[in-house]
Symmetry: D2
Subunit: 131 residues, 4 copies
């Protein structure tokens, strides 16, 4: 199972008065990695929602190793560490110039987007994520 | 027509590397003022959406006069400058210690929340906003 | 060691198209809890930075149990679970109407704000946080 | 004077419960356009700050014409409409599939980054922006 990479740059909006990227911005970066990963594997997440499923986040963790700064170009590497009909886990690594600046993990449940009750994802979706 | 005031504090998340509040954060502050204004006038905006209307922003402007800094306590003063069945305009003033730090204005259209097509708001809603 | 509570409301800006608060918004809420906790214990974080220290986040985790929605009023309860001259850990609980909606934890290092190198905090600061 | 284009995609974090991009997100998109414009013209904004100047925003306006949605790919077109030693104005157009979705304008003052007092920018910087 290969990881998927997408490039980003730190926005001015994402800095804080310490002069580095705000730690809360990483959740959105992980989400960009996730969206790119899914697209690459043939799962367009926007379509999944249109079809009635949502992938809600139930756990998030991040480890910050080196600060990212305004205008830094960095890479978001995403992989799936678990994918079942009800649960998916993603792992993330943020790299700048070959150095790991942060790592993270998110755990998600598939739910019915109208009720937010757990709902099994189509087998095809799970298969694609595991490819 | 009286303006409505709500107090806020600058979050660390809202600062940028200039050491002041990021200019993009003000849109969310105006929106907090707007929500407070509507509630005070008897219009719970969340209910309005549940009933099928949305108040989309079509214009935004902000004038920044004095920087706000992390942990600064400030006041958001909001008033309605125009309210018709299809259009509403709000004006905002942000004050810290009696000094105006920023002003702004937003223009909104009432739309059907499912189609995003213009839709007249209930007369009762417009009346309340103008009270 | 008592926990400190501060009230917040979900902003429209913090919702996402699932119709709930975006999971990335919680980092800023934890930070609001942290700022309130420190102030209550006599440590004004803004002053700490002016004196040359910063408390950088090295780990963040969050568990999402029940979605928060636009305009929901909720409470952020913060406590210190560890405080030494170099490391501080905070734990958070978000409650709405007595129900726990999310929990979290952050780990921080004291650093010299100019160099970002680890630096021992003044003993007085650590004592206050542990009070 | 040519405008500069940079591509972006709407993040999930940038949507709100109306199911479209939050209007407050556009300020950060304009800023991305501005950074790209400056870089293209040979002015690395991060360097400018390191050399002691900041370009503070004193006015912002945005006109929203068509909603952008999650995962939409769009273009940010930026141009300078005025550049003097003390004042710079940028104009923005956001396009998706050839259609203008939003327009905007920001006005900036050059200030000394330590004091926030107005300060003339190096002539070379202004010349490059006008090229």
């Amino acid at each position: 199972m290969k990881s998927v990479m997408i490039r980003e740059r730190v926005r001015y909006a994402e800095t804080d008065q310490m002069g580095v990227a705000y730690h809360g911005a990483y959740a959105a970066w992980f989400e960009i990695g996730r969206t790119a990963f899914c697209r690459e594997k043939g799962v367009v997440y926007a379509d999944l929602e249109r079809q009635g499923w949502a992938l809600v986040v139930v756990e998030l963790e991040a480890q910050y190793k080196r600060p990212l700064r305004y205008d830094d170009a960095f890479e978001i590497w995403t992989e799936v560490t678990e994918a079942k009909s009800k649960v998916v886990e993603f792992a993330y690594r943020l790299l700048r110039g070959g150095e790991v600046c942060a790592t993270g993990r998110t755990k998600h449940l598939f739910v019915d987007i109208r009720t937010f009750k757990p709902a099994s994802a189509p087998a095809e979706v799970v298969e694609k994520l595991l490819r």
